[in-house]
């Protein structure tokens, strides 16, 4: 007999199947609707003319002469067998190309999220506890600035100050974790921390006015324990939801930050492949992103069980 949670997880995984089909179909259709011939884009780089005979051979090799429905069905059949094909541009396995970039993307996403949570949650809690104080107003202002700053601008600013002027950090690259990751993680994490701070503040404000908090205070429970055990846990559901969505976004690549810091992540891979109409690579990246979204959403939903035992999945 399958328990409630297991049945729920199985149901969610089965629901993922039409999502995958839909996502790949939409990508496939869009990539074919958008003008731009991948063969011409491959060949035309400061060369005088495109050789029609070579173009024909390349089209045949990539299977572009097949009818579109057949091309899509072939992709689906191969994808079900774990074969995402070979990139038009690099002639490399799509799956391998994506897996090569997962560590860089995951490291950056984790670091940025850690910064966002470590700054955003405490800032939001203090702002809620000191509602309408100078600190509260200042935190709102800082959060607004954080959300408003474009990543590319903050990134370039950090490079100019920390790398060029003060020579504290390398300007860009994917090297040893600490020196190379600080600037991109701060760039990505700053905006997110502002969002998390605002959300934490409003969630905490709602919770700390509840009767059980007042009761805890009346019983003489220490303020720290009230916040950590009683208030934050109850305020956590909206925060975890947003963090989950943002982590999904980070795993799908932070194109601008990756570009500014020459970070070899999924975002650049996806954008570059769309630019040259590298359909297999773009399909592969989008499948990866869809998988990340579905998995993280499921994890977030399951985390509600721990955060609030009253929640039951059937």
């Amino acid at each position: 007999m399958i328990s409630g949670i297991s049945a729920y997880v199985i149901k969610r995984l089965l629901l993922a199947v039409p999502v995958f089909v839909g996502v790949t179909l939409v990508t496939f259709v869009l990539m074919h609707i958008v003008p731009g011939d991948p063969v011409a884009l491959l060949m035309e780089e400061k060369v005088a003319t495109i050789d029609p005979a070579a173009a024909r051979l390349i089209r045949a090799k990539w299977g572009l002469d097949d009818p579109l429905p057949l091309q899509y069905l072939k992709f689906l059949r191969n994808a079900l067998q774990g074969d995402l094909g070979f990139s038009y541009r690099t002639d490399q396995s799509v799956l391998r190309s994506i897996l090569d970039r997962v560590p860089a993307t995951a490291k950056l996403a984790a670091a940025a999220l850690a910064i966002a949570v470590l700054i955003g949650v405490p800032l939001g809690i203090v702002a809620a506890l000191r509602q309408n104080s100078l600190f509260d107003s200042a935190s709102i202002m800082v959060a607004t600035i954080g959300v408003s700053m474009p990543n590319f601008w903050l990134g370039i600013l950090l490079i100019y100050l920390l790398a060029v002027q003060w020579r504290w950090l390398p300007p860009s690259g994917y090297g040893p974790v600490i020196p190379y990751m600080i600037m991109p993680a701060v760039t990505l994490g700053t905006g997110l921390s502002a969002v998390i701070a605002r959300l934490t503040r409003s969630a905490m404000l709602e919770v700390i006015r509840q009767d059980y908090i007042r009761t805890a205070r009346a019983k003489g429970v220490a303020q720290g324990r009230i916040i950590a055990v009683h208030a934050l846990r109850n305020a956590a559901i909206p925060i975890v939801t947003v963090v989950g969505v943002q982590l999904s976004g980070l795993l799908s690549g932070a194109v601008i930050t990756e570009r500014v810091f020459s970070w070899p992540g999924i975002g650049r891979l996806l954008v570059d492949s769309i630019g040259v109409r590298d359909l297999p690579m773009a399909q592969g990246c989008i499948l990866f992103i869809a998988t990340a979204f579905i998995a993280l959403n499921l994890i977030v939903d399951l985390s509600y069980l721990w955060l609030d035992p009253r929640i039951k999945y059937r």
Binding site: K46, I50, G173, V260, P264
Partner: protein, 528 residues
């Protein structure tokens, strides 16, 4: 007639305004060692010589592989590569190459004539789907091989271990030049690695492939057994840095040994006395232009196309928008090309004449025109400049910026009236004029759908002519006709500019492509 004799008849009209700029530091004894770091704006797709012809890929591959011939960046003429000598048959169709002895692949095996044959046949094999097919499909028997009607290319004959004869189906002046693009691969490694050969290439060049972290770094190390002598630097690292501002920060912090300068950064280094001695510039073999679709009214009227050429003040745009990092175009050939001639004057800025021509074309009240360009901010600035000047003569220009691939595709399909492009056709004048031949209509290069039978005939003749002086003369005559017909707005010739760290010696100004540097001759002076 021996090819060497033809070479001796070459009149190098050249042209090159500082092809090889003097190095700021005088002659010194080169020092071995050091790690040379340079960057690429994006990751090369592949490093298989049969697979990619992009600048990024070639600037890496040329260090890993050897070609039969090299292109001398000073004279833009052939010089020996792994072929130490060659001769041309009486009928000008067969080249016999003699390979150097003792050239070794990075796996230790000696290169032989069989490897050369294999490398050509590999490009011609349909499964390879090589973009270089056209370069070699004129070899006798190549078409049959490509069509799978023959198992061997009859025009390639291995005479002995070190000699090889290659016969062209037709006598063509560009034939010897093809072999500057032929990188030789070791058969056993190409077959063993298959698709992976493009990711882990093995050649015979001055540097040996070490590692490739996609979108991050490519690392090569010096080949101690290189036939031309061990390279001075011990390692060569290519970093992929897509953002120009980041690349500049890397250079300014001394983590890159040279960088190419764009319009925005050019003045900062060229005008700075501290950096000026380390700036190298050369007019590139590229012609920036607006393609004018001669089938789309009113651009089908030559007077309208000429009016557009007179309407825009190129000199001011080059001085202001391009910060002087270009030369005003007078025709198709840039000053570093051997077919460049000062006698082609092009179109001066003359708005009065432009209005007059439009009035003669029945467009005295003006006309509407779409100006198409890619989404690059640089192109956006150009388009705004064009729009300003065209408005002045009554051309109501509407700017349409779109993805580069979309624009190229639509131009190829005859859907748009204009497009901004940079054309690079290499050192041979017939190749350079390729986009004006009616055989190349559409995506093959002639997106303007321009047809002038005299131009076609001149270029056909030039292609068959092996006497370089005569060939250049024919190309120049064709160029004059093209300029008069104005299927382009002839805008400017880019100046390729690089700035290097003061302790780097041996970089050159290469008009073919600034990133094609002879890295095995570059050395690093230890910083004091």
């Amino acid at each position: 007639m021996k090819w060497a004799l033809i070479q001796s008849t070459v009149v190098t009209i050249v042209m090159v305004l500082g092809v090889i700029s003097p190095q700021p530091i005088g002659a010194q004894t080169p020092i071995y060692g050091g790690h040379f770091r340079r960057h690429l704006s994006s990751d090369p797709a592949n490093l298989d010589p049969a697979q990619t012809n992009t600048v990024r890929a070639v600037s890496v591959k040329m260090n890993i592989f050897d070609s039969l011939f090299r292109l001398d960046p000073k004279a833009l003429d052939i010089e020996p590569g792994v072929a130490e000598s060659w001769s041309l048959s009486e009928d000008n169709r067969t080249i016999t190459f003699r390979l150097r002895r003792g050239v070794k692949f990075h796996n230790g095996r000696e290169m032989t004539a069989d490897d050369v044959k294999y490398s050509i046949q590999r490009i011609l094999t349909p499964e390879t789907a090589s973009p270089f097919l056209r370069t070699f499909d004129r070899i006798a028997g190549a078409q049959e091989y490509v069509a799978r009607k023959a198992s061997d290319v009859s025009g390639i004959r291995v005479l002995d271990r070190y000699r090889l004869a290659v016969t062209s189906a037709v006598a063509a002046s560009t034939f010897p030049l093809s072999f500057t693009q032929l990188f030789i691969v070791p058969r056993e490694e190409a077959e063993r690695l298959g698709r992976e050969f493009g990711q882990r290439p093995i050649g015979s060049g001055p540097f040996i492939f070490v590692s490739w972290h996609r979108d991050d770094t490519i690392l090569l190390r010096a080949n101690p057994d290189y036939w031309e002598g061990r390279p001075y630097v011990s390692a060569l690292e290519f970093r992929v840095i897509p953002d120009p501002a980041t690349a500049q920060a890397e250079f300014d912090t001394g983590r890159q040994d040279y960088m190419l300068l764009g319009d925005v950064t050019y003045r900062r280094y060229a005008d700075d006395p501290a950096w000026k001695p380390y700036v190298i510039e050369v007019p590139e073999l590229f012609t920036r232009h607006i393609g004018l679709n001669v089938t789309k009214p009113p651009l089908d009227d030559v007077r309208v196309r000429q009016a557009i050429n007179h309407a825009i003040d190129k000199a001011t745009l080059v001085r202001t928008v391009l910060q002087g990092k270009a030369l005003v175009a007078t025709g198709v050939f840039p000053p570093s090309h051997q077919a460049y001639t000062r006698t082609v004057k092009g179109y001066d800025y003359n708005p009065g004449r432009a209005r007059e021509l439009l009035a003669q074309a029945g467009l005295a009240s003006g006309l509407d025109l779409e100006l198409h360009g890619s989404t690059s901010p640089v192109i956006g600035r150009w388009l705004e400049g064009f729009q300003h000047y065209l408005t002045d003569v009554g051309v109501r220009a509407r700017i349409v910026q779109q993805d580069f691939g979309v624009m190229l595709d639509r131009a190829g399909r005859n859907e748009i009236p204009t497009w901004v492009l940079s054309h690079g056709g290499g050192p041979n004048c017939v190749d350079y004029l390729g986009p004006f031949r009616s055989r190349n209509f559409g995506p093959a290069g002639n997106r303007m759908r321009y047809k002038n039978e005299r131009v076609d005939a001149l270029l056909d003749e030039a292609e068959r002519t092996l006497n370089l002086r005569r060939q250049v003369g024919l190309c120049q005559e064709a160029e004059r006709l093209v300029v008069a017909d104005a299927p382009w707005f002839f805008f400017n010739y880019n100046k390729a500019v690089l700035v290097h760290q003061p302790n780097i010696i041996g970089l050159i100004g290469n008009p073919v492509e600034m990133d094609y540097q002879p890295m095995h001759k570059v050395w690093i002076r230890p910083r004091r």
